[in-house]
């Protein structure tokens, strides 16, 4: 039984469709991510669920209730904004208590204190937003949304303004709190790594449409089209005609082939005991080597096109720039698009 249902939602601005007939469903307690490039419509969809944007066509249901025409305050959703939107005139306690005060909730103090404890902000109750770090402000924004016990939590790129280290630790914390409260969460990001780390399910969006949905593993290992392949995993996407020529075969079908950079292997030209069973072999030379921490990325130029090959950074296993190499392409890892 789906808990959140988006039914054929369409929205446009100035004759341009921002959301194009989007339908999706979420289960209760699920952590879903809307992933896509800037301008793909992911934030508009989130704001439509929150009631901050009207939809032109379609319905939005939460827990079986049609909320399409309800005002934001009636929807029982919580939202954390990209810039947190904390109230500058209120301290941490008052920011978190704001929604409860509006609802005239009793025992407000204990609820707020519990939430402050949960987001690890004890001792900061009297501080004002400008006295907090970005990470602390993000926690206040999260606590402010969660204390209302919303049916759905909406997160609009809440980690994008933070530095890498704090971002990683908050990703874990966010996931922990989400699991602890079993709250259905919709997270918006353009960062595929963040989406993979946090989500139970990912909806990849492009030009106002959901182009693929599935678990992080499904999305990563089985992209349905070139856009997803390139956006999700830095896939090597090669024209099929060119690829057939490179591997000297006529069997392959499709328009393009996508191959993950980490499944490719490099060996020196002339190296013995090559096991070509199950692999194709393409000759080339190392055009460039770059290092991204624990990963070494080789750009290997072949007769027809360039391939990226990712290696874990082991000491003493580097190919020099200009080295002549052979790329081993595992046949079963090639995805025909």
């Amino acid at each position: 039984m789906s808990y959140v249902t988006i039914e054929q939602v369409t929205k446009g601005y100035d004759n341009q469709l921002v959301l194009n007939n989007i339908s999706l469903t979420l289960k209760k307690g699920e952590f879903a991510t809307l992933l896509g490039q800037s301008g793909c419509g992911k934030s508009t969809l989130l704001r439509s669920i929150a009631g901050l944007e009207d939809v032109d066509v379609g319905r939005i249901l939460i827990d079986g209730k049609d909320i399409t025409d309800l005002s934001p305050r009636q929807r029982e959703v919580g939202m954390v904004f990209q810039s947190y939107a904390l109230f500058p005139n209120m301290n941490v306690f008052d920011n978190i208590a704001y929604g409860l005060k509006m609802k005239k909730v009793k025992n407000l103090k204990s609820k707020v204190n519990n939430m402050i404890d949960m987001v690890d902000l004890i001792g900061k109750e009297e501080s004002y937003p400008h006295q907090l770090s970005g990470g602390q402000q993000q926690r206040v924004a999260l606590a402010r949304a969660l204390v209302m016990e919303p049916k759905v939590l909406l997160l609009d790129e809440p980690l994008s303004a933070l530095d890498a280290k704090i971002r990683k630790s908050l990703q874990k914390e966010l996931k922990r709190i989400q699991k602890e409260l079993d709250i259905t969460t919709i997270f918006v990001t353009h960062d595929q790594e963040e989406a993979m780390t946090m989500s139970d399910r990912i909806f990849v969006m492009n030009k106002g449409q959901v182009v693929q949905s599935g678990s992080p593993s499904e999305i990563y290992t089985s992209p349905v089209n070139t856009f997803v392949a390139k956006f999700i995993g830095n896939y090597n996407v090669c024209n099929m005609e060119v690829f057939r020529k490179l591997v000297r075969t006529t069997e392959l079908k499709g328009n393009e082939v996508a191959i993950r950079p980490e499944v490719l292997q490099l060996v020196s030209v002339g190296e013995d005991s090559l096991d070509l069973q199950g692999n194709w072999e393409i000759k080339g030379f190392v055009k460039d080597v770059s290092m991204a921490g624990n990963v070494l990325r080789y750009e290997v130029e072949t007769e027809e096109c360039a391939f990226h090959v990712d290696y874990l950074h082991h000491r003493g296993e580097m190919f020099e720039q200009g080295a002549r190499v052979q790329i081993l392409v595992p046949k079963k890892e090639c995805i025909m698009l």
Partner: protein, 267 residues
């Protein structure tokens, strides 16, 4: 580094002296007994102030000016604050139009404006020419640019749109969002606009003279009248209303920021 700082200090010092000299000169002249051929007055006296404070006309003019200012500025805040808020947050595409309308007073010289207003309001259904009401209307328009810029800039700096969104999602109505979140954060902007408007209207002469003149004597008209009788007395008037404005500004600022809680903890 040190020399550049000295230069800055010197520059600011010169600017302060430049701005203060006319005021100090006026103050000295208002308390000068005999001052003909010396750098500083030869004798000092408070007789100009005594004469001023014994004149009923001065108090009446002051009261009238205060009445005009309170009504005009109050009306402007009551009308412009919600208008600017609604346009900025909900109808941002109309912002350009509002901005153009707010800047219009700069394009119309007071004399042209006054002649037009007298013509328009001396006949027809609204005959208010020569009454203080026409002056209140003219003052409302005069201070429009200050009110508009001050309030709009405060709303922009605050990112009011997102704060209202956040408050609404937390269960607030639009009015509650404005009252509890937006208003407390733009109060200093409103205050600055209000004080600028008050200072401007205190020294406004053109509209007051052309639209109502002696029929509703304001402080500036009183000052202009006294200019012909004694320079010492007019200096005393100027210093008095400067002091009034200073007192008013100081009190409002103190009252506004008195309840602001002290920062707690550090970053």
């Amino acid at each position: 580094m040190k020399s550049s700082l000295t230069f800055h200090k010197l520059f600011v010092g010169l600017l302060v002296i430049y701005l203060l000299i006319p005021l100090v000169g006026t103050l000295l002249f208002s308390i000068a007994g005999k001052w003909d051929h010396t750098i500083l007055p030869e004798s000092y006296t408070l007789k100009w102030y005594i004469e001023l404070f014994q004149d009923e006309r001065f108090y009446d003019a002051f009261r009238r000016t205060l009445f005009l200012i309170v009504i005009s500025v109050g009306l402007s805040v009551v009308i412009m604050l919600p208008t600017i808020f609604i346009i900025t947050v909900y109808f941002s595409k109309w912002e350009g139009l509002l901005q153009a309308a707010a800047m219009l007073p700069y394009g119309v010289p007071p004399i042209v404006g006054a002649v037009g207003l007298i013509k328009l309001y001396s006949a027809g259904p609204i005959q208010i020419a020569g009454t203080p009401w026409i002056l209140i209307g003219a003052y409302f328009i005069t201070i429009l640019p200050f009110m508009y810029q001050g309030i709009r800039n405060s709303l922009r700096t605050l990112n009011a749109v997102q704060l209202v969104d956040a408050a609404e999602l937390l269960g607030a109505t639009k009015f509650q969002a404005f009252r509890t979140v937006v208003f407390p954060n733009i109060i200093s902007g409103i205050l600055v606009s209000t004080l600028l408007s008050v200072s401007l209207l205190f020294s406004e002469f053109a509209f007051a003279n052309l639209l109502v003149g002696g029929r509703f004597e304001t402080l500036q008209i009183y000052l202009s009248d006294k200019l012909n009788s004694s320079g010492h007395l007019t200096s005393a008037i100027v210093i008095t209303y400067y002091s009034m404005i200073l007192l008013l500004t100081g009190t409002v600022l103190k009252l506004t920021f008195r309840n602001k809680r002290n920062p707690v903890g550090s970053k």
